[in-house]
Structures are given as structure tokens and as C-alpha cells.
């Protein structure tokens, strides 16, 4: 069986999750590899959620929030952005490819952009191949 990437996505309720729903109501088609978890704000995305997803076997993690200036909670997306840069640094130090983690802004009206983003990221992760984190962690586990 060919490699099908598993991507866990954290989407904010107000913009990005609604944008993903719009892709659905508009019957746009995109790669099946994404699994969406809804949070109220991208500011809720704790770095440990990202690590947990990778640890459990995700090949990629996508975080989506409202565009800068449009956050339902004023500035949660900026908090998310700051943490994202730290997370990028961290995963790279751990030997995880930076392309496995992405942060993108998707508004409630950007169903098409969301569908394109999922396709694009799926191919990006497919090129990287399966993540080694879960098997390595299991080997290391005492």
C-alpha cells in the first residue's frame, strides 16, 4: 500500500473551521489525509498538542487561525504565531523536518484556499515520507 500521510489539523472555530465547512458546503474536493480538531481560538493550540499528535503517529500537523487583525478574540492568533516560531525551532532541533508543521491563516470565506492548502500540504508531507517519531519513541520506550 502506498504511503498515505496522516495530518492532524487544529482549526479555530470562528474563521478556519468555518472556512473548512464552507469548502464542504461548496462541495470542493480535497485530500482525505487531514483530520480536523476544533479549538475555539488558534491561541488555544498548546505546543504540547503538536508534539502529542506527532508522538501518536501524525506525519504532519497543520494549525489554522483567523488572519492577523481578524481574530475573534482580538489577538489569539498572534499568540499562536509566536508559539509557532518557537515550536518550529524546537522540532528542528529534535530532528523533525520543519515542513511537517505549518501555520496558515484561513478566513471563514476561504473554503477554496483551505481545500488547496490541504492538497498542497498533503503532497508536501507525502514527499517527506512517513514520520519516524512514533516508531523511534516506541523503540526508546523502556
Amino acid at each position: 500500500m502506498s504511503f498515505e500521510p496522516k495530518i492532524v489539523a487544529f482549526l479555530c472555530n470562528w474563521c478556519s473551521y468555518t472556512g473548512a465547512d464552507l469548502a464542504g458546503t461548496s462541495r470542493m474536493k480535497y485530500a482525505h489525509n487531514i483530520r480536523i480538531i476544533r479549538v475555539m481560538c488558534s491561541g488555544r493550540v498548546d505546543p504540547t498538542f503538536v508534539l502529542k499528535a506527532l508522538r501518536e503517529g501524525a506525519d504532519g500537523v497543520l494549525i489554522c487561525g483567523c488572519h492577523p487583525g481578524d481574530c475573534h478574540y482580538h489577538e489569539g492568533n498572534y499568540r499562536c504565531l509566536r508559539r509557532y516560531h518557537l515550536m518550529q525551532k524546537y522540532i528542528q532541533q529534535m530532528g523533525i523536518e520543519s515542513d511537517r508543521l505549518r501555520l496558515e491563516w484561513v478566513s471563514a470565506s476561504e473554503g477554496k484556499q483551505f481545500a488547496e492548502l490541504v492538497d498542497e500540504m498533503t503532497e508536501q508531507v507525502r514527499k517527506l515520507g512517513p514520520s519516524e517519531i512514533k516508531p523511534v519513541m516506541e523503540k526508546l520506550a523502556v
Binding site: E4, K6, V8, N13, Y17, T18, A20, D21, A23, G24, T25, R27, M28, K29, Y30, H32, R35, I36, I37, R38, V39, M40, C41, G43, R44, V45, D46, P47, T48, F49, K52, A53, E56, G57, A58, H72, Y73, H74, E75, G76, R79, R83, A115
Partner: protein
């Protein structure tokens, strides 16, 4: 709750064929039924229908379920529906989780095997998550029936009267020394020529004499504290006198300011004495004297549209009222000075309001010449040589004739646009509303909720939201007033229950949460040396939860444990299927 035996019911919706044609609902329910703690897993044609909901209610009672998962459309669609069903069955509505297998599975994928596999993962994640759900109780707060209205223009006055007539106390705060706002500057109104004074004066009189309205003139509102139902602030007078007031809702009606054309060299405003703004011309009309600075009757009057509006270097938007005001002037000039020629230099004639196209048609039959210019190619006003028949000429490339022309003028009226009030930033900060790029305030939804804002209990009416004419402003004022009266009629208001809560044993007192909270809902308890969350101010974004270094803050209904278990559920099913 965690120790209690988990009895989870899972319901998979076909949504007619919307889900069933792309997801093997039978196969999914069979496999999900084997998961730990899942007591029953069923599939049904339309879960949101009455029989669908009844199925859940019946099973909760019969099978003693204490958790429910529905896999169907988006939770944004029917989460509330199923929460109510749980409530009807006597179960706390938060012991419910929804898996989105329509908008995010069957409608977006084309391979049934993959779609089915994905649906299974999402449902397994929801099952895992719902095990960690906790009962959350609705909380309500009492609503103070008093209302603060900021701004004493026609919008603020209208809102104040509507609310006060319903017997509620209104505090009307106006920065200037008089009520009436921009309408008080007008002579007559378009399109029907009603006298502005006759419209306004009875309203102002009623406000001043109304037993339920307290008017503060030459006053401003200092930062507003609180939340829907329980706001408070200080009103500061010019003399420094402070009055503390309490209220449950706010109407922001702080209006607009007129554009100052001094910076536009092509019009020579401030240098050529007989180039005046529409605001100054209006004053002449009120005084009944259309004269040049030298006291002469102008033989030629030019009106120039879109001054400061529809200009990519100044304001790109249309100020909405200037075209019709120009037509009003054309009519007033031709009526008062029948010998005078009027030249109306416009970009596009925007006559969209009721009675406005008729005003345009009527004006075209009078001694008015309409000349069109391109908004990227503005007219230039020049002084003529001494002894010429007119004082000035307006040089312009007339679009319809395609010719460069010189329009004679003894007086030029610049139809200045509207811009956000200079106090807009201060007001936005005081009450917690957002501003768009032009500094006008942003409504909650541009189509469906045009007078509310994202801050509950704060409404925006009139031109502080964008340039508006009188009827639109009054309509908004009425809309905000009725929304507020409806809220007050509820006596109590429900507040967010999915708030953050601090575990004082784990809190190290670093106060990082205080810095990231956009609602100032987290404060520091100096005595206990821990952070505390004001649950009424908290909107449940969860940013504090993910910033807390010790894990002391729990975001209710989006706890670390709930989300972690959801991730586990997702990936466990992935691994198993693979």
C-alpha cells in the same frame, strides 16, 4: 465523574444520502460499537429530525447513557440541537460531542474507502474525548436596565428616546456643548427639502425634558469596565467633575467628521477665498445669504463632488451623502438666484436612496449643467486675471464630451466627504469595539448583525460605523434600541460557561496568563499569590490555558486532557486500520 462507569451512545447520521453515499455508515457503526465504553452505536437517516432526536432521548433513558456522540454535519450546524436533546433527557448538555462527517468528510472526498476510514477516526476521537467531558452549568447575571448612549447626534438622540420611552434610564453623553450633531449644521435635508431644524428641535426638546434621560454635555466617557448587563464608567466634565454611572448596555453613536480639503492643492482651498466646503456653504444657506467674500451675488457656482472620497490617496470609500447634498444645493441656488448658473462637476451620480433618483431627474430639468470628471483626473481651480467676467475657472477634462473645458466660477463648493471622528480610537478603546482600516467601527456581522459588535452589550449606530444619511442612522438607532430592550426584558443573561479556571495549587504566580488575556479577565490575587479568572469577563478563547507553564489553567470544555484524548482517538484508529 471520572470514576463513574462510562456509558456512551454513538449515533451516525446518513443525512439522507449526503453522508451515506460516501461513508459506509453500517460498517462504521459496527466497528465503533466495539470501542471501549460504547454501549450502543446506531445509524439513522436524519439524526436532526424529531425521530432522530427522540432516538437519543429514549436511549439515554433506557440504556442509562451518560455520554453521547453524534456523527453528522458540522457542530456549527446542529451542536445546539443535540445539546438540547440531552437536556430533554435529563443529561447535562456538555456531555456531548459531535463528529463532523458531512462538511469535512462526505462532501469533500470522493473515495468511499478513505472517506469511511476518516469518518471512523473522527468518531473514535469524539468517543475518546467525550469520556473526559464534564458537566457544566449555565450561569446567568442580572442585567442593569440603564443604558449609556455615547453621542448626542440624531442617532444617539433617536436611540435614547426609544429606550427612555420604554421606561428605561438613559445616560446620554455628548462631547460638544449642544445636542444635534451634524444634522444641527444643516439647513434643509435631501431629497424632500425638510427643514433640519424642524426635524431636530422637537426631538432635542423631548430629550431634555424626558424624566428617564440624563444628558451630559461637554463631557466624555472614561474607560468602561464590566460586561453585558453590568458596565460602569466615569463621565468626566470639562470642569473635571466626575460622575460614576452604571448601566447594562451601550449605544455608541459618536458620528463622523468632515474631511478637511486644505491638503489638496488642486482645489486651492484656504488660498482662494471663494472656494468653500459644503459645511461652510450650508452655513450660508442657513443664514439665507449666498455671497462671495466681497459680498457679491455669484453669477456662476460650481459644485465639485468626491472631495476626499473615492480617492486612492485619501479615502477609497464613497461618503454616501455628498451627491444628494450637491443636488440639494443646486436646487437651493437655482431657487434663490434664478440668474445664476450652476455647474455640478461629478464623478458618478450616486442617487440610490428613496426619492433620490427623482431628485436627480428634477434637478436635471433646471438651470444646472452636469459635467463629469474621472476620479483619477481631478479638476483644478485657478484664479482668473483681473477684469475677467468670473473670479475663477475650474479646469477639467469632461468625460462625456471628451473635451478639456474651463468652467467659469465665482464660487466653488467642495463636497467634502466624511471620515471617522478624531475621537474614534479613544472611543473604541473605552468601550472595546474594533475599527476597520478607515477607523470606522466594525459591526458583528456585515450582513446579519449590522448594529451589534463582537463585545456583547455594545451596539454601534449611525455614522461611527460608516457614512450614513438620516433615515439609515435612525433605522440603526431603532434597531439597537430594540435589541437592547429585548435583552433587558430577559432580566438575566446567560454568560459563557466554557471559561478558564485556575488550579490555585498549581499556579506559580508568574502572571503570564494576565498578559495574554485579551479581556483583562485574569487578575492577580496579591494575598494568595495566584491568578484568578473573572468568569463573567472570560470568553473562553483558551489562550491563557496554552500559555500557562505549570498547567494550572484549565479551559473548560477544551481541556488539555480532552484535546489530548481526541488526538489519541484519531491516531489510534488510524494505526489500527493501517
Amino acid at each position: 465523574m471520572a470514576e463513574q462507569e462510562q456509558r456512551i451512545g454513538v449515533y451516525i447520521c446518513w443525512c439522507g444520502s449526503n453522508i451515506a453515499k460516501m461513508v459506509d455508515v453500517e460498517g462504521v457503526s459496527e466497528q465503533i460499537g466495539k470501542l471501549p465504553n460504547v454501549v450502543i452505536a446506531k445509524n439513522y437517516k436524519y439524526m436532526c429530525s424529531d425521530p432522530g432526536q427522540d432516538l437519543v432521548v429514549k436511549d439515554i433513558k433506557e440504556h442509562n447513557l451518560n455520554r453521547v456522540v453524534v456523527a453528522a454535519c458540522s457542530p456549527r450546524m446542529h451542536e445546539m440541537t443535540f445539546r438540547k436533546a440531552l437536556q430533554n433527557a435529563g443529561l447535562n448538555p456538555y456531555l456531548f460531542e459531535m463528529a463532523n462527517i458531512r462538511e469535512q468528510v462526505s462532501w469533500v472526498h470522493e473515495d468511499k474507502d478513505f472517506a469511511t476510514k476518516k469518518a471512523k477516526s473522527l468518531i473514535a476521537a469524539a468517543v475518546r474525548r467525550v469520556s473526559f467531558h464534564e458537566e457544566l452549568d449555565k450561569r446567568t447575571v442580572h442585567i442593569d436596565p440603564a443604558v449609556l448612549v455615547m453621542g448626542g447626534g440624531i442617532s444617539g438622540i433617536s436611540a435614547a428616546l426609544e429606550i427612555a420611552d420604554a421606561g428605561k434610564q438613559v445616560y446620554l453623553v455628548e462631547r460638544s456643548n449642544r445636542l444635534g450633531g451634524r444634522v444641527a449644521d444643516l439647513d434643509v435635508t435631501f431629497p424632500y427639502g425638510h427643514s433640519a431644524r424642524q426635524l431636530l428641535e422637537p426631538m432635542i426638546k423631548r430629550v431634555e425634558q424626558h424624566p428617564q434621560i440624563t444628558v451630559f454635555t461637554e463631557c466624555k466617557v472614561e474607560e468602561v469596565f464590566g460586561y453585558l448587563g453590568n458596565f460602569e464608567c466615569k463621565v468626566i466634565g470639562k470642569d473635571g467633575k466626575e460622575t460614576g454611572i452604571k448601566f447594562g448596555n451601550i449605544v455608541v453613536a459618536t458620528g463622523l467628521k468632515n474631511f478637511d480639503p486644505s491638503g489638496m492643492d488642486n482645489y486651492g482651498y484656504g488660498k482662494l477665498p471663494d472656494v468653500v466646503t459644503s459645511v461652510e456653504f450650508e452655513k450660508m444657506l442657513r443664514q439665507g445669504k449666498i455671497e462671495t467674500k466681497e459680498g457679491k451675488i455669484p453669477q456662476n457656482v460650481a459644485l465639485i463632488h468626491c472631495v476626499g472620497s473615492r480617492n486612492k490617496d485619501i479615502h477609497e470609500y464613497c461618503s454616501r451623502t455628498c451627491c444628494m447634498t450637491a443636488l440639494k444645493y443646486a436646487n437651493q441656488v437655482t431657487a434663490a438666484l434664478p440668474e445664476t448658473n450652476v455647474y455640478d462637476c461629478y464623478v458618478d451620480m450616486r442617487a440610490f436612496g428613496k426619492g433620490c433618483e427623482e431628485l436627480y431627474a428634477n434637478t436635471s430639468r433646471k438651470n444646472v449643467m452636469f459635467l463629469m470628471f474621472d476620479k483619477e483626473d481631478l479638476p483644478v481651480i485657478k484664479k482668473t486675471a483681473a477684469g475677467d467676467t468670473c473670479n475663477m475657472v475650474v479646469e477639467m477634462n469632461e468625460v462625456l464630451s471628451g473635451e478639456a473645458i474651463e468652467v467659469p466660477a465665482d464660487m466653488v463648493v467642495l463636497m467634502v466627504g466624511a471620515e471617522a471622528h478624531e475621537d474614534a480610537k479613544e472611543v473604541a478603546h473605552a468601550v472595546g469595539v474594533s475599527m476597520c482600516g478607515n477607523d470606522f467601527f466594525i459591526e458583528k456581522h456585515p450582513k446579519l448583525d449590522p448594529v451589534a459588535t463582537t463585545t456583547d452589550g455594545v451596539y454601534i449606530v449611525g455614522s461611527c460605523q460608516g457614512p450614513k444619511d438620516i433615515p439609515d442612522s435612525i433605522a440603526q438607532a431603532g434597531a439597537a434600541a430594540s435589541r437592547i430592550l429585548a435583552t433587558i426584558a430577559q432580566v438575566e443573561v446567560e454568560v459563557e460557561v466554557t471559561t478558564a479556571v485556575v488550579n490555585e495549587d498549581l499556579c506559580c504566580g508568574c502572571q503570564t496568563c494576565i498578559k495574554v488575556c485579551p479581556y483583562s479577565a485574569v487578575t492577580y490575587d496579591e494575598e494568595k499569590k495566584v491568578s484568578t479568572v473573572n468568569e463573567v469577563l472570560c470568553k473562553g478563547c483558551g489562550t491563557c490555558g496554552s500559555t500557562c507553564p505549570t498547567g494550572a489553567i484549565r479551559s473548560r470544555h477544551f481541556t488539555d486532557q480532552q484535546i489530548m484524548s481526541q488526538i489519541e482517538g484519531l491516531m489510534a484508529m488510524e494505526m489500527e486500520v493501517a
